[in-house]
């Protein structure tokens, strides 16, 4: 270096600064808050970032949602599937041209192994399989490859095909990982192989349009195109996702053309961008609900009338006009719009701000002078504003809500440990079917603390209604769609007034895109990076 250094400096002094040109032509540059991103292993991913990056972009699942109509399932890695007469066996026929990034062929063996792996690792989203009766000890027979292109799935109950397809086989657990690479990179933790988890954390070897070439924590993720990919060839050679945790910063970058896509923008920044003709804003209503969870173990909050009162403390219309635009649509039902069996918009949001009603309910409940409770919430995005809004209305009926904001990790911990009175959080349904949220927000198999059903938000609230449990189980197995929908309608009506959750809005995913970027396909479950072109 030393001999070259003076020369280099001379060179630099001569050179004029390079103009900060727009983004590279063959690369899609995205700014996002990647704080939550902790793993890229599809079997482990439990948050939005990783899901968005991996599902369909790095790892193609067996089947996919139709971007136009997410209730329809379309072929992906599997070109076809069939259900046995008894409805207990599901057979996938994989495509013949599945290749891993290095060009080696991917087989049904890899596919089956990948799904077994997800169950064996037992991370959060293994629930996508385990809740359908797949278990660690029997998974080897339950999901197996009969030949290089056939995966046979044996179920213990004849679940409706449409339901289980979208619930299990369009998700991150039903992807095709490179078994060889995994076993090579496997790490053995106290005598037990991690099935390549450590290796895949920073970039899975997987069948898909892109592969992860770089991930610097809290800095950048870079994807490179796989030219051997079976599907239609992506237009962009590289996808660059930069960690920019500030809405204002992202907006500046977008306006300057330093990025093509901004994923973390506040309502007001988006509103401002509307005026900018170089930018368009894509809004997608996703399957996430934001709500206040009420811990019914608390004597006061166990009173249904008190919980009902909270529903009248929310100015749905006011929020819709002020804070919610681009972020969410008011909704009070546990089933998000767009899911099978969801109430329509009107029926799904019957409440409105009504302080007198709230006061009356509180009086009936025996708390005419209100009470003081703590509401914990995330410090991110619009949560603080929503919380302050509710708190100020509550104050008007004598209820004091002390707010405490915290990092998400912290918020989740408090939730799982039942260490909260009121908690403002969001929950994303795994699949667009009423079944998804019903089984997490309504069905509580065992409400005892020691049961530790921590993955059930409803368990965290200590609330339980056995009849709902039965209704839900029945609805799940109901073959007739019309009947099924009707059953869910009942459940929703009941939960809306008795449940432990005060739903406030259904999340919208706003994405601001430079006009230069064309044909960017964005659907609730899948942002197709490859579809973009410049």
């Amino acid at each position: 270096m030393s001999p070259r250094l003076p020369l280099a400096i001379l060179l630099l002094l001569l050179q004029a600064p390079a103009s900060r040109a727009a983004t590279p032509r063959d690369a899609l540059v995205m700014a996002w808050n990647l704080d939550a991103l902790i793993t890229l292993d599809p079997a482990q991913i439990g948050e939005v970032n990783g899901n968005d990056i991996i599902l369909g972009n790095v790892c193609t699942p067996l089947v996919n949602y139709d971007p136009q109509d997410i209730s329809r399932i379309v072929p992906a890695a599997a070109e076809s599937w069939s259900t046995s007469a008894d409805g207990l066996t599901l057979t996938f026929k994989l495509r013949g041209d599945l290749k891993f990034p290095d060009g080696r062929a991917a087989t049904a063996g890899d596919a089956a192994w990948s799904m077994q792996r997800a169950v064996l690792l037992g991370y959060g989203n293994s629930a996508n399989l385990t809740q359908w009766g797949f278990t660690k000890d029997r998974i080897a027979e339950q999901i197996r490859a009969t030949d290089d292109r056939t995966v046979v799935v044996t179920m213990d109950k004849p679940y409706p095909a449409s339901l289980i397809l979208s619930a299990a086989f369009a998700s991150n657990v039903a992807v095709i990982l490179d078994r060889e690479a995994a076993t090579k990179g496997a790490k053995v933790v106290d005598g037990k192989s991690d099935l390549g988890n450590a290796a895949f954390k920073t970039g899975p070897v997987c069948v898909g349009p892109y592969r992860v070439t770089r991930w610097d924590a809290n800095d950048v993720v870079v994807l490179e195109r796989n030219d051997g990919f079976f599907g239609q060839k992506p237009n962009m050679r590289r996808i660059i996702i930069r960690h920019v945790p500030e809405s204002s910063a992202e907006r500046l970058l977008l306006e300057k053309g330093d990025i093509d896509v901004a994923r973390l923008l506040t309502t007001d920044d988006l509103k401002a961008l509307e005026a900018n003709k170089d930018v368009r804003i894509e809004q997608t209503v996703v399957q996430g609900m934001s709500y206040i969870a009420i811990n019914t173990v608390d004597p006061i909050l166990s009173n249904a009338k008190v919980r009902e009162a909270f529903r009248y403390l929310i100015d749905y219309d006011g929020l819709a006009r002020s804070i919610l635009p681009y972020q969410g649509t008011p909704r009070a039902s546990l089933i998000p719009e767009g899911a099978f069996g969801a109430l329509d918009r009107a029926a799904g949001q019957p409440f409105k701000l009504d302080l007198d009603r709230a006061k009356q309910l509180l009086t009936e409940a025996g708390y005419p002078n209100g009470f003081t409770k703590k509401l914990i919430l995330s410090a991110n995005s619009i949560s603080p504003n929503i919380a302050q809004h509710v708190a100020s209305n509550a104050a008007k009926v004598g209820v004091t809500l002390e707010l405490e904001q915290m990092a998400d990790a912290n918020l989740f911990t408090r939730g799982r440990n039942r260490e909260f009175e009121l908690q403002l959080v969001a929950w994303y349904a795994g699949y667009p079917d009423a079944d998804a949220n019903t089984f997490r927000h309504a069905v509580n198999p065992d409400k005892r603390p020691e049961a530790k059903l921590t993955m059930y938000p409803v368990w965290r609230t200590g609330w339980q209604d056995l009849s709902i449990n039965e209704q839900a189980a029945a609805a799940r197995m109901e073959p007739d769609p019309a009947k099924r929908a009707a059953m869910y309608r009942e459940i929703q009506e009941f939960m809306m007034h008795n449940g432990p959750f005060v739903y406030i809005y259904q999340n919208i995913r706003p994405i601001a895109v430079r006009s230069a970027v064309k044909g960017f396909v964005i659907s609730p479950f899948f942002v197709d990076y490859g579809s973009a072109s410049k």
Binding site: G122, G124, R242, P245
Partner: protein
């Protein structure tokens, strides 16, 4: 304060004790964190079985002292473990984050010293004049303004409105992956590869945060320089030198300044240490993938491996600075030889 912190670590021995204490403090403080690192790994939909598995793997079911002992042992073998909140090895993360901060802080300290020392000297020489008051106020403003706020304002003005400087981050995305990370210091690496575009781009990105951090330390340095200088100017030997027939400025240059150098070294070292603190907020504002943000994030995520590693590094930096200043002391002040 200067004496405080630096006096803290006079001999490496006591410094090591301090360091151990610091680690212990952080460790047990960290275990008090209301955040459960396990959830970060398994995601909030995981069932209890998965939870217990990971909880055991992380050794969180062992008693605290044992955990601490194990941690220290691992650390002595150079193993910082995994950063749960990033999914990477802590060492790998820091090897990226740390140079980023060093580059920022070093540039800032250059600015701080380059402006602070001359201003301080002049202010002392022209004590009580308008100039003195002006520098004092300018300095105090830098001393008193929230760096994160200055950062935001700076971005709006110089990046968004005037477009003079680069935006948040260390480089335009166009340049990502365009140079070899030899040292991790972009400016150096760019020179190394002789790539002017990257160099100038990096400059355009670092100049604003560095100036804002530098401003703060400039304020501190100029204030200290001023009072040191005043102290020296009041000394007899200054008069003596004038009597010899030396001009005022010659005396200041050859005698007064030589004498404040000793104390100045301490101050600069201290200012440098404080830059790490400033970095925490500045890096957040400028999306600077550095050490400060890493530490903050790790702290909020309850990720002890990451936090402890950072603490250790800060500690080591302090030791380094202390030993360094001690050396310089010996060089600069014959009385300490």
């Amino acid at each position: 304060m200067a004496r405080g912190i630096l006096g803290a670590a006079r001999q490496a021995g006591s410094v090591l004790v301090t360091l151990a204490g610091l680690l212990a403090l952080t460790f047990f403080m960290g275990r008090m964190l209301p955040t459960d690192p396990v959830l970060a790994i398994i995601g909030q939909q995981a069932d209890q079985a998965a939870y217990d598995m990971v909880h055991h793997q992380l050794g969180l079911d062992r008693p605290l002292p044992v955990q601490f002992a194990l941690y220290v042992r691992a650390m002595l073998t150079g193993d910082f473990g995994d950063a749960l909140f990033t999914g990477h090895r802590v060492a790998a993360d820091l090897s990226r984050a740390f140079p980023a901060t060093i580059e920022l802080a070093s540039l800032a300290i250059l600015i701080g010293v380059g402006l602070g020392v001359p201003l301080g000297v002049l202010a002392a020489v022209y004590r009580g004049t308008l100039f003195d008051h002006a520098t004092r106020v300018i300095g105090l403003v830098g001393y008193s303004s929230p760096t994160f706020w200055l950062g935001l304002m700076g971005l709006i003005l110089f990046y968004s409105t005037l477009g003079w400087v680069g935006g948040p981050g260390r480089l335009d995305v166009g340049f990502i992956d365009s140079i070899e990370p030899h040292t991790g210091l972009l400016l150096v690496d760019a020179l190394w590869d002789g790539d002017p575009d990257v160099f100038w781009n990096a400059v355009s990105h670092i100049v604003l945060p560095a100036s804002i951090l530098g401003y703060a330390s400039m304020a501190y340095i100029s204030r200290m320089t001023r009072s040191f200088m005043l102290e020296q100017l009041a000394q007899e030997y200054i008069v003596a030198a004038r009597i010899k027939g030396m001009s005022r400025w010659a005396v200041i240059r050859r005698h007064a300044f030589r004498n404040i150098l000793v104390q100045l070294v301490t101050v600069v070292a201290l200012a440098y240490a404080f830059l790490l603190e400033g970095a925490v907020l500045t890096e957040t504002v400028f999306a600077w993938p550095g050490f400060g943000r890493y530490l903050t994030a790790g702290l909020l995520a309850g990720d002890m491996n990451a936090v402890l590693a950072c603490v250790l590094i800060v500690g080591v930096i302090f030791i380094g600075l202390n030993l360094l200043t001690d050396r310089l002391y010996r060089v600069l002040d014959p009385r300490t030889r």
